[in-house]
Symmetry: C2
Subunit: 319 residues, 2 copies
């Protein structure tokens, strides 16, 4: 076994950080590393946490970490960081949070940029989860900001998705639109001390009624919290535990994990074969010629693509 | 040539609608149809229009259609419709707009659902654009709602992207986050009669300053409009024309169209080979076995995927 894999399995913080870097950067050892770690995982509870900017996710997460640590649980956090395309900076809150827990070996916090990963950020996050799972963390929390398709792909890597909404941001529409309501398991109304928090709760219940018409057995808890007043955190923790027991017992967890594996197999295959085909076309100098032929309308798109694909498939190759 | 293609080239509205349906539904004739139409396109100006819900895009679009019709231009609109995952309904505004122009043969308006397309909504939209382009519309407008990655993929199918922002929605953050500011060519501040419209403009200028540090030659116009007061629509139309002439003359339009063709070649190849691999695995009953092996930790992910992919590549196949 790769020495680094042994150190990860022993729970060494530095080795875990280095392994995640290798996964992120597409290190030559990446596949061997993940394959060595994979059989040792499967014990972590993977939580997703998402919601619009300004909903207080980071403060909530901080309180949740404190609660779980008091209960003796080890926790890893991957914060997928929507760095601005211009600034490229990480988010200040993450840095502060990292400092606070810097001396605690049972808390591991890592920011991952949401751009610039070969195979997409969901692939890199999925491999990072495998590293943390093998390292034996009780709980892994994937935090994303926003409600786009990328964020949905990422939180779908978790066993339980927690969606944070708040009064006054006008983001109910956003959440609805992007289909995030559909993937939420536990709904959190944060800033519950504000007047209009009950309206947000009522709105969630209204939307969920449509969901229950299709899936009547899928009742989703709604938890009211106030990170500022530290209200509702115990209830949130209990709700997560109860929800986990429910999906463990009724088979939903197994079903969800199998669906995740299936999606990942398809994504990995697509990414690999895509780079293989692109390398094939590149070697032949084909792509530029295809672009020119299509731009000048001398060729038609499907004809030229089918021709090249057939040529690719006729050659014996290996990954 | 397929008879339907001839009718599309003759500009028959019903044929155009039917051709787009075939493209959307993956009709067996789809590839032959697009390949027959493709050489006749290339003359339409393709505009993208995006922005958050509530920014008044539809009203703006309506006014722009009126202006272009007065100037004798023919216009097609594809509204990519973020139907709620629960309601599945189309947007009321679209229906009203369609009724208004229903008797005008030089205006074609079509809603496309953003979900449920084989090969993705961007692929279906791209083929729909080829149909409209071949049918000879002077201007094709692609309208999307929201600022997620899917929306970005779609508006990137256009020659000029117009991003609508408004005061008070708090969506500047959203726009920044999702990288939409990066793809905007023309920025529209709608509801410019409101007090804080100047702030939105100043914010856009501030963000663009970072962009100009990297790409100093790429000056992006900012247009103030009020759809309600019908202000700024002539300026918007002039701005589009001027911007079009600029990118036509400086080669950016050609560069952009070639990049688009390149991206589309890669996407089509990936989609085709992906379904080919999945069919191969399905025929072998492999996927379920792979899922079980991984779920039970009897196999590791990269090992099993590389094994199956090699088996696929060793067999001679054709598309």
């Amino acid at each position: 076994m790769i020495p680094l894999a042994e150190d990860v399995l022993a729970g060494q913080t530095r080795a875990i950080a280095r392994a995640i870097s290798r996964v992120e950067n597409g290190h030559p050892d990446k596949e061997a590393l993940i394959d060595a770690l994979y059989p040792h995982g499967g014990t972590s509870l993977i939580l997703g946490l998402t919601g619009p900017p300004g909903s207080g996710k980071s403060s909530l997460l901080d309180l949740l970490i404190d609660k779980e640590r008091s209960a003796g649980k080890s926790i890893a956090v991957i914060a997928v960081d929507p760095t601005s395309p211009f600034s490229g900076g990480a988010i200040l809150g993450d840095r502060l949070r990292m400092q606070k827990h810097a001396t605690d070996d049972h808390v591991f916090i890592r920011s991952m940029a949401s751009r610039g990963h070969l195979g997409g950020v969901a692939g890199a996050t999925s491999d990072a989860i495998k590293v943390l799972d093998a390292a034996g963390f009780d709980i892994i929390i994937i935090e994303t900001i926003g409600v786009g398709q990328t964020e949905i792909d990422i939180v779908e890597l978790s066993d339980i998705v927690m969606l944070v909404l708040v009064p006054g941001l006008g983001d109910e529409i956003q959440a609805l639109k992007a289909g995030v309501m559909e993937i939420g398991d536990i709904f959190i109304v944060n800033k519950s001390d504000r007047d209009d928090a009950d309206k947000v709760k009522a709105h969630i219940e209204y939307v969920l009624n449509f969901k229950y018409m299709e899936k009547p057995d899928q009742k989703n808890p709604i938890v009211m919290t106030s990170a500022v007043k530290q209200d509702g955190i115990n209830t949130l923790r209990d709700t997560i535990q109860t929800y986990y027991q429910t999906i463990l017992n009724n088979g939903m967890l197994e079903q969800k994990r199998k669906q995740r594996i299936k999606a990942e197999i398809k994504n990995l295959i697509t990414a690999k074969i895509k780079s293989k085909v692109e390398a094939f076309l590149h070697d032949q100098g084909s792509i530029e010629a295809m672009v020119d032929g299509l731009y000048e309308k001398k060729r038609s798109p499907y004809a030229i693509i089918n021709e090249k694909l057939n040529r690719f498939l006729q050659e014996k190759q290996s990954i």
